[in-house]
Symmetry: C2
Subunit: 174 residues, 2 copies
């Protein structure tokens, strides 16, 4: 008997091709089977997984009752992802703040409320941990995303600034 | 012989009152001697200090030649601070990004280039670590700060969203 269950859980190594597929192209579905997981992504995933203040979270459709079923990569179909970083600090009465990055919903599954589920569950996770604040930035061109975050209760109070650096790691790439 | 030396270094426990004084009031100088360091700030500082991906950095005027001179809290006068968080991730070829928060220059020392020194040294630190990007957000009302970051090369490409949570920690406060 098949009962669809939406679950937000930390990604395992077996989910990495599916997550990289989500990140590779926001506009169309990329088949995870076509993704080559380079050593730099293996390292980055291992760093996230080993860090108690970072979580790569995946929204999965388990598609069956009971059991985690994560052997052989069968942890359900990855429909969305985000990364949460929990930051200790001296503001907010010494409480952590949660930074959310890399929010994605699979291109063919948008418009059905999955984004809301993804964000609401991530916020609930931050709240349960004792975070005083959740923050994120969104490209100024993404007006649709901005309305989405505002409907979820986020306040667009800040401007986001980025400075690209020449990383020594990027010179290793073809 | 007194030679002023500006140094950006990780804060020690002895700097904590001075940093909390900077954070307490952005508009006037607060005497660190008036700051009570509560247990919640002791905990938060210890968490930052123990985390290899977080640094609370202070810009200090050492005011003397040679030596760190940090015994008895004599680590120089704290003129500015910021917190850097180094975030592993699957974008940017697997390189870390640096998030900068809590940027402050002491109210009576602004306008003399200390902010530029603080940010430039923090960016150099992120670059030396291999970060591909430095990012920060700034309140939309702070147009002066925005021009400052743009002069340093930052691009105002994003909007910043915040969602305040009811933290269990804040209920402990008077």
């Amino acid at each position: 008997m098949t009962v669809p269950v939406l679950l937000l859980r930390p990604a395992t190594r077996a989910d990495l091709p599916a997550v990289l597929a989500l990140l590779a192209d926001e506009e169309r579905v990329v088949d995870p089977a076509t993704i080559r997981v380079g050593a730099e992504y293996e390292r980055a995933f291992a760093a996230i997984e080993a860090d108690p203040r970072n979580e790569l979270l995946v929204l999965v459709n388990e598609g069956h009752e009971g059991g985690e079923g994560n052997e052989d990569g069968d942890g359900g179909t990855v429909l969305g992802c985000l990364q949460a970083t929990y930051i200790p600090g001296l503001g907010k009465g010494g409480a952590e703040r949660a930074l959310i990055e890399a929010v994605r919903i699979r291109a063919d599954r948008r418009g059905g409320g999955l984004g809301r589920t993804l964000l609401e569950q991530a916020v609930a996770r931050a709240r349960a941990r004792g975070c005083a604040l959740v923050q994120l930035t969104s490209d100024k061109r993404r007006e649709d995303a901005h309305r989405f975050y505002e409907r979820l209760g986020f306040v667009r109070s800040h401007d986001g600034f980025k400075l690209a650096l020449q990383s020594p790691f990027t010179t290793d790439e073809p």
